[in-house]
Symmetry: C2
Subunit: 166 residues, 2 copies
Amino acid sequence: MSLTTLIEDSRGAIDADPAKAAVGFTVTGQLVGTTEVAVSARGHTLTVDEPRALGGTNLGANPVEHALIALASCQAITYRFWAAKLGIELDSVEVVATGDLDVRGFFGFDDGVRPGFAAVRLTVTPVGPELVERYQQLADAVDAHCPVLDLFSNATPIERTIVVTA
Amino acid sequence: MSLTTLIEDSRGAIDADPAKAAVGFTVTGQLVGTTEVAVSARGHTLTVDEPRALGGTNLGANPVEHALIALASCQAITYRFWAAKLGIELDSVEVVATGDLDVRGFFGFDDGVRPGFAAVRLTVTPVGPELVERYQQLADAVDAHCPVLDLFSNATPIERTIVVTA
């Protein structure tokens, strides 16, 4: 099934039953080493770990790198979908995401420093046969509809439950 | 090296040279299939993909799941570090992260719907021999210092560059 067909079919299904638009995603992480975390998401498993300089054994990318992985891959896939939706030919797209972190926030050395990224830079290189203006139009549509760019750019309400059994 | 030693050594190094607190993380994503993205982060490689229902071939967790992976693993690792810092024994911790997404935002069916998560729920289960109050104290310290929780909870400035060669 082409992406344009998928988009049209989704539109029809959601117009008929708006509840179909609601999707839930769940991920489980279990600390299994000093900083090694075994993660499971819809049957996909992977290991998150810190580099040795941060006390880990470097068995995988670390949490903030996974946040950048989420952003870079979401941009790439949103380019694919919106190219299909706008009828723009897209041969490939490369996304480089860089984040600046001041570890004084994480370590609690300075509570005036935020623990997360102070700034993120994205460099996106779409490749295809269309005029430059069309890819600029595509980029604007992507940035208005990319789920993980929205997550980075805006606050998301989080509800936290701590379960401690005495 | 124990985590308490690592924290003390980091403090000493950063007090001596504050520039040492600045760390940069970079990730590259390349669209190599319909929705398949080959990702590289500091030598670690993995595949991000969409499930078949979203036009992909399900070769890996999708971007928003990677955002939840980042959050769950960051919580787990921050529990480890702050347990060491606060002198709280921690045998293990499990984190379940769930995000609610309304796909009308991503597809552009309704521009009043945000493309990202409308809400995220975290259930954290720390396990260890200490009193319940100590894990509650730990949870509060973690939530004040977890980099990816900060990313979800607050806006992050993003600078975007589009490179199109005619």
